[in-house]
Each structure stands twice: as structure tokens, then as C-alpha cells.
């Protein structure tokens, strides 16, 4: 495991790489950087409830989609863009706190299924409430003026700021009493309760944190693309992708979500270009490989071990020759 300062330095370096893409790379790479920043923010958010507290939440898509819609509806009713994002953030946070107070009483499979059910219910409500949300036809939003390049730069900056905010909160949680309490809950909830951690309060805070930035990301995503619809906004694939990214990096760590998202997105991009029809199958294959060969995520690999093993392989090869 790296020392804390090394992790922060690595994150800062990665942030600079992403933010500087407009200076040295094509529009395609800039778009990729926006996607990475966006998913990093979502994955860091999921890490609060899924990584630190160990609760199998699949409700990311509900928070993201709700953020899209609240942001879009506020903007359409005349609220300035940035204020609309703030409204979406607060709304989604409040929604998660209220919802958390109810469904966090469940554990294990029941919680997981409840969290999937939430995505479905919110999606169905949004798509059948046609008079407000446009139903299945979706909603259009005014695009920012200034041409696609300038707009992409603005949203790259926005997504990076959200990602940075999520990272700073993660660091604060990791080092503070909240992170300690959540790790206790992850290990053994009853024991945590016994030694004076209030599981209900901690879990609700973690669940709310896991929703807040999803709301911001959703609202700014809606402003960026200029069009949202229920199927895209509440995609169950997003609800599974985000946890997989976090598991790939290493759940419950500060840097795991960042590394996992970067690795996953780049991998997906490589395969996506070559096997367009098989993107779901590739995600599935990544999951299978992850679970059988990388149970603790990329961060848990001991590099000394890998080097030693490689060295012994080469040694054996030489001996055989």
C-alpha cells in the first residue's frame, strides 16, 4: 500500500493529465476525459456506502437520473444553470437521506434488491409522469453557446471539479471518525453498535454522501448533452458499472475508485472501438475476471509479489534452457 502523500500526489497528477487534455489531445480524448472524470465522481460516491460501509447498493442510476431530471426541469423553468445543479444536488441528497432512513433497515440481499427496486420505481414514475417530464420522449435543454470545443472544455472543468470535491470528501471521511465508524459497520454491524457506533446514523450519512455528487453529475451531464430520456438516465447498466469500477480498483480505499474507473474506462474504450456489438459481454467478462482473479482490486496486488513471481518464472525458463 502506498503512503498517504503518494496517493494524493498520484491523484493530483491524474487530475492535471485529465484537465490538460484540451492542450495536447484530440476532441475524442477530451470527451473520454470528461467521461472518466464523471464516472470517477460517481464511483467515489458509491465508495462511501459500498466500499466503506460494505452495503451492496445498486441505486447509483436512480440518483444520477433524478439529478438529470431535477437539473433539467429547474433549468427549463428559468433557473440559471449552476443554480440548477445546486438544486439537483440538494434534492437528490434529501431524497437519499429520506430513502436511506427506510431501506437501510434492510441488510444483504434485501438491501441490494431494494436498491435496484428504487431505480425501477423512480424510472417508471418519471416516464409515466408525462405532463411534467415529457415521458418517454424525454426533455430538451438549451445548449451552451460557443461551439462544441469550448463547451467540451467547460464541462471537462466542471466534471473535474465535481470529481475533486468527491475526492476531498473521501479523504475527509477516510481520515475522520465517520470512516472509522463505517469500517466498523462493514466488519460487523452488531459489534459496531455494541461499541457505540450508531449504525443507522452513519449509514444514512454514507448513503446521502453516495447520492449528493451523483445529483450534481446528473444535472451537469444533462446540461452538457442537451437531451435526456428515462431509459438513458436510469440505466441499470450504470448501477452495475459503477460498483464494478470501484471493485476493480479496490473498495473502501481513497484511490481505488479513481484507479478502477480509469482502468475500466480505458479498457472499455479499447474494446468498444473493436467489438461494438459485444460491449455488454465485455463488461460481463471483466466482472468474471475481476471476481476470480482480482478479489481485492488492482490496489490489493502486491507488486513485489508479481515481480518476484516473474523473476522466478524467468529463472525457471533459464534453468530449463
Amino acid at each position: 500500500m502506498m503512503a498517504r502523500w503518494q496517493q494524493y500526489a498520484l491523484f493530483a497528477a491524474w487530475l492535471i493529465v485529465l484537465a490538460s487534455t484540451p492542450l495536447w489531445a484530440s476532441n475524442y480524448v477530451v470527451r473520454l476525459a470528461i467521461t472518466i472524470a464523471m464516472f470517477t465522481a460517481l464511483t467515489l460516491s458509491w465508495n462511501f456506502i459500498g466500499g466503506f460501509a460494505g452495503y451492496p447498493s445498486f441505486s447509483t442510476a436512480a440518483f444520477f437520473g433524478l439529478g438529470c431530471y431535477v437539473g433539467a426541469l429547474s433549468q427549463r423553468s428559468g433557473v440559471p444553470m449552476v443554480l440548477a445543479w445546486a438544486i439537483a444536488t440538494l434534492f437528490v441528497g434529501a431524497f437519499a437521506a429520506a430513502l436511506g432512513a427506510i431501506i437501510l433497515r434492510l441488510r444483504g440481499h434485501y438491501f441490494a434488491i431494494g436498491s435496484i427496486g428504487v431505480v425501477e420505481v423512480v424510472r417508471l414514475v418519471i416516464s409515466s409522469w408525462g405532463s411534467l417530464t415529457g415521458g418517454g420522449d424525454g426533455l430538451n435543454l438549451p445548449l451552451l453557446s460557443g461551439g462544441p470545443d469550448a463547451v467540451a472544455r467547460i464541462f471537462l472543468l466542471v466534471m473535474i471539479l465535481i470529481m475533486l470535491a468527491a475526492f476531498l470528501v473521501t479523504v475527509a471521511v477516510d481520515r475522520g471518525p465517520l470512516g472509522f465508524g463505517l469500517r466498523c459497520i462493514q466488519q460487523n454491524e452488531d459489534a459496531a453498535n455494541m461499541v457505540g457506533v450508531d449504525p443507522t446514523r452513519y449509514k444514512i450519512i454514507a448513503y446521502t454522501l453516495s447520492a449528493l455528487f451523483c445529483g450534481t453529475v446528473g444535472a451537469s451531464y444533462a446540461s452538457w448533452t442537451g437531451y435526456i430520456d428515462p431509459t438513458e438516465s436510469f440505466s441499470i447498466l450504470m448501477s452495475i458499472k459503477v460498483p464494478v469500477m470501484c471493485l476493480l480498483g479496490g473498495p473502501g480505499t481513497v484511490l481505488g475508485a479513481v484507479i478502477g474507473t480509469a482502468a475500466f474506462t480505458l479498457l472499455e474504450e479499447i474494446f468498444w472501438a473493436n467489438f461494438l456489438d459485444y460491449n455488454r459481454a465485455i463488461l460481463g467478462a471483466v466482472i468474471v475476471i475481476l471476481i476470480f482473479f482480482l478479489p481485492g482490486g488492482l490496489l490489493a496486488i502486491s507488486y513485489r509479489d508479481v515481480v518476484a513471481r516473474l523473476a522466478s518464472l524467468i529463472g525457471r525458463h533459464k534453468a530449463a534452457a
Partner: protein, 286 residues
């Protein structure tokens, strides 16, 4: 009369739902695994049935046992080779793994068959019982579904394998001490789950269009039936399915058919919070 018609529709639908959910419920109850593959397995069974009928003219009723056997072998293989290795790990791991397998199967089905809805059309007409219309294909589907569910019940209660499965469900450590090979029972149980999914697919192919677009819907129904009926018991799935069928057709009548699904999910969320062991579930299995 309209109400009676709605009730009858609901019960017929419910019979189909029971069959859809019973395999899922068994796997969840015995292996403690939420099998996200279930919806895709149903559609896969449907496709095999459809193509047997469409390309070779094999009647779905004849195809059903073959589909069921193939799916059993598939399920057994998946469990022995993959899921058994992670069966005791946290929910997140097992659920993510079955989700990953689901994505793979789903993807191959959409690539090879495309999402175009297909259906086995038997044109059996409808029965008229005292002014209540019952489509014969659905009725046949329900009878088959209930028959299969009943058979599964008998297997669980009367056979050695069934008793071993129940023993593992109650206490796998004690079952292992009694000489039951737990990993094989797990594989058999998952195989039975897949078998029931395949058989459901074959039955549904006669009633509904077969399309990969429905995998998520079927999985969602299985969730709801399990939460209503409680886990791992055949009578629970039967009751849960029929309750859901009736509720959906009443809700469809009252709010319009497009809201029937929402009502089912909302009911599930409420039940999860109020009574997570299911309406008739047994305490201590949560």
C-alpha cells in the same frame, strides 16, 4: 362480471408468475444467491423453444422437456465451474458475478437472435365459461406452470435429493457433517433453478413474445414474487405469484395497464421494509 374477469385473468397470470419465480426463489433460499441470470435464462429457454418450433416444427410441448434438460445441464455447469467458488462470499460479489454472467448471455442472445419479438402462435382460441373469456394458450400455460411447480414440490418433499436440498438450506455445515456433498447439492439446486427458468421460457413462448427486452422485466417479477411469498419454499412462490398476478390485473384495471409494473415494484418496496420475510415466509431465513 368485469371484476370476476379481472380476477380470473389475475389468477391465470399468477400461475405463470409462480413458475417464473420458483426456481429463483429456490436458488436464493438454498444458496443464498440472488441469481441475476434468471431473466436471461427464461428468455434463452424461450428462444430454443421458438427455434425448435419455427425451424423444425417441433411442438413446444414436446420441446419443453428437452429445453428443461439442456438448461439443467447449463445451470449445473455454471454452478460447478464458477459460482461454487464464491458461494460463501459477500452479497456484492455473488450478485455482481451473476450479473456479469447475465450480461454475457444477454449480449450473445441479442447478437445471434436480435431483439425482434418472436412468438410461437398456436391459435387455440378462447374458452367461454359463463361469460368469462379465458384464452386457451394462457390457460394451458398456467396448467403446465402449476403442474411443474407441483412436481418440484413433490421432488423437494419426497426424494432423497429434495431432502438433501432442504437440509443444506437449513444448515449447510450440519448437512456436510451428515455426509451430504454440499457443493454438489448447490450445483443441483442451481441446475433445478435453471431448469425451471427454461421450462418457464418454453411456456411463455406460447403466450408472450420472446425477446431479450424482457429479461429485466422477468427478473423484476421474480424479485417481487419472492419478496411477497418469502424465500426458498415452493408454496411461498406459488402464493406470491398468484397474489402478484391478481394485484397486477386489478391495478391494470384501476390505473391503466402501463402502471401495473410500478404497482408491483412499489408493493415490493413496502413489503421489504414492513415484512422482509414475506407475507407467508418463515422467520429466521432472512
Amino acid at each position: 362480471m368485469a371484476l370476476l374477469q379481472t380476477l380470473v385473468n389475475g389468477i391465470v397470470l399468477g400461475g405463470l408468475y409462480s413458475c417464473l419465480a420458483v426456481g429463483f426463489s429456490l436458488v436464493w433460499g438454498v444458496l443464498n444467491i440472488v441469481n441475476m441470470l434468471h431473466g436471461s435464462l427464461i428468455v434463452f429457454g424461450g428462444y430454443i423453444t421458438y427455434f425448435a418450433w419455427h425451424s423444425y416444427g417441433i411442438h413446444p410441448l414436446l420441446a419443453l422437456p428437452v429445453v428443461a434438460l439442456l438448461m439443467y445441464l447449463l445451470g449445473y455447469g455454471v454452478q460447478i465451474s464458477m459460482i461454487n467458488r464464491v458461494v460463501s462470499q459477500p452479497v456484492l460479489t455473488t450478485m455482481t458475478l451473476t450479473f456479469g454472467l447475465d450480461l454475457i448471455l444477454y449480449n450473445f442472445m441479442t447478437v445471434y437472435y436480435s431483439a425482434t419479438p418472436r412468438r410461437v402462435t398456436l391459435d387455440l382460441g378462447a374458452l367461454d365459461v359463463g361469460g368469462i373469456a379465458i384464452p386457451v394458450d394462457r390457460l394451458l400455460g398456467m396448467v403446465l406452470a402449476l403442474g411443474l411447480t407441483g412436481m418440484l414440490y413433490l421432488v423437494m418433499r419426497r426424494s432423497r435429493i429434495g431432502r438433501a436440498i432442504v437440509a443444506v438450506r437449513m444448515d449447510s455445515a450440519a448437512a456436510a457433517l451428515m455426509g451430504i456433498r454440499v457443493d454438489r447439492i448447490y450445483a443441483i439446486t442451481f441446475g433445478i433453478g435453471a431448469l425451471m427458468a427454461g421450462a418457464t421460457g418454453a411456456i411463455f413462448a406460447m403466450v408472450y413474445p420472446v425477446t431479450t427486452n424482457l429479461t429485466g422485466t422477468y427478473l423484476g417479477k421474480a424479485f417481487v414474487v419472492c419478496i411477497i411469498g418469502g424465500l426458498g419454499s415452493v408454496p411461498g412462490a406459488l402464493a406470491g405469484g398468484i397474489v402478484l398476478g391478481i394485484i397486477e390485473s386489478l391495478a391494470g384495471q384501476a390505473f391503466g395497464p402501463q402502471h401495473a409494473l410500478t404497482v408491483g415494484f412499489v408493493l415490493m418496496l413496502i413489503l421489504l421494509v414492513v415484512r422482509p420475510t414475506g407475507l407467508i415466509g418463515i422467520k429466521g431465513y432472512e
